[in-house]
């Protein structure tokens, strides 16, 4: 078997652009899913009963559905139900954000619950409202505590963005597969794809480790 690695170089521009889309999807998903995750967690913890149930239902639904199913569903079913069809990129982003928000909500809920009651009491004894205590005392500590979990969510998400290739979002996996299909260079393209994901993912994981050490709170 002869290998022809030049195929990777020949399609470098498409691959670079696709890598950009992968990053864009990862960042945009997290930009949506972190604040929304906090929101859902707060609703689950402090909301009135019907809101709490709704938030719980949302989390349990999306945590227990395969992401690829959500992607397909958002792409094929939602337009039929609503009559509104979004671009593949927006649809993929929505599916990822729905999924990661559910995970982040659970992470934040655990983080908030891990802050001991005395901290809220100390804040309230100063005259703070529950909302102020949450914002000024509980969330900053919870966020620091769950940084490692958010970080591993980030690294997973970076790879999971490849799932939106099934609806033709031109991210790294989709473009690599397209090149493979056109050139029949299966081994070369799959290896290149693996290398690109790994070389980009590993430093992100390390960076996150460093951020966590740097901003860890000693207690």
């Amino acid at each position: 078997m002869t290998l022809d690695w030049s195929v990777v170089w020949q399609h470098r521009e498409a691959l670079v652009a696709a890598t950009g889309t992968t990053f864009l999807l990862t960042i945009a998903t997290m930009v949506i899913a972190v604040p929304c995750g906090v929101g859902v967690a707060v609703l689950r913890l402090y909301g009135i009963a019907p809101v709490r149930s709704l938030a719980t239902g949302y989390v349990e639904l999306f945590r227990n559905l395969p992401l690829i199913l959500v992607v397909y569903w958002a792409f094929y079913v939602v337009p039929i139900l609503t009559g509104v069809g979004l671009s593949p990129l927006a649809t993929g982003l929505a599916a990822l954000a729905l999924n990661v928000t559910a995970y982040n909500a659970e992470t934040f809920r655990a983080g908030i619950n891990s802050i001991r009651k005395g901290q809220v009491e100390a804040a309230m004894a100063l005259g703070m409202s529950r909302a102020q205590a949450l914002r000024r005392v509980v969330l900053p500590q919870a966020l620091r505590r769950i940084t490692p979990v958010l970080a591993s969510t980030w690294v997973s998400l970076f790879k999971d963005t490849s799932l939106v290739s099934v609806i033709a979002v031109t991210e790294l996996a989709y473009v690599a597969m397209q090149v493979r299909a056109q050139t029949f260079r299966v081994l070369e393209m799959l290896t290149a794809m693996a290398l690109i994901y790994w070389l980009l993912g590993y430093p992100q994981a390390k960076l996150v480790d460093w951020i966590q050490r740097r901003y860890a709170v000693n207690e």
Partner: protein
Amino acid sequence: MTESVAAPAVPRRDSATILRYRDVVKRFGMLQVLNGISLDVHAGEVVCLIGPSGSGKSTLLRCTNGLESLDGGTIEFEGARLPRDEKALRAMRARMGMVFQSFELFPHLTALQNVAEGPRTVLGMKPAAANARASALLAKVGLADKAASYPAALSGGQQQRVAIARALAMEPDVMLFDEPTSALDPETIGEVLGVMKTLADEGMTMVVVTHEMSFARRVADRVAVFDGGRIIEEGPPAQIFDAPTVGRTRDFLSHLGWAG
């Protein structure tokens, strides 16, 4: 049995009543923790609450600023009943300082930020003004050089002094101390009691739940002895420690090795 002493042996510095407890009852499930507590705390007075663990001292303190709700009786702060309304209760809490056994400093903030947090968030002070107030208070508790330290880098005694400064930053009318030295190493207890003594000498109204009998004896204007959710004896320290009239008080004090 819970009658207060008719003629206080220690002259009160001011007759205004800061806290008035009447027949306070608190239950946790089936357990009745407070069985009708009546007590007055006057302006400038230091009242120490002593008694065995589980006798209700800390619970009374936590009811005082509404961290626990009452199941019966009333608490008045400066002539007004503790409000049920959250917002009004917060305004009242802001005028009571509380110091916890476990310090409860905010670990993500420096000592200075801890002390400035109340003025900034609750009083809406500008950061510069809040920090100036916090600096002055850290100096007052002897920790000017620790302003930039995080709680984890401070000893227990230092953390508790920051916690006192944090409570003082709200310029409270009364300070509530919930066993402030019980979690401390013996060698750092003195520095915290020293700060509390200074506050008392300056005329701060204080309610102190404590097992430090020598502090109660030296600093308190009045001592209330708790047992089984009641005040079994109340009076000036000289009476409580030297001539307790109730048998349970004598038992309690002798258990602590208090020779009188």
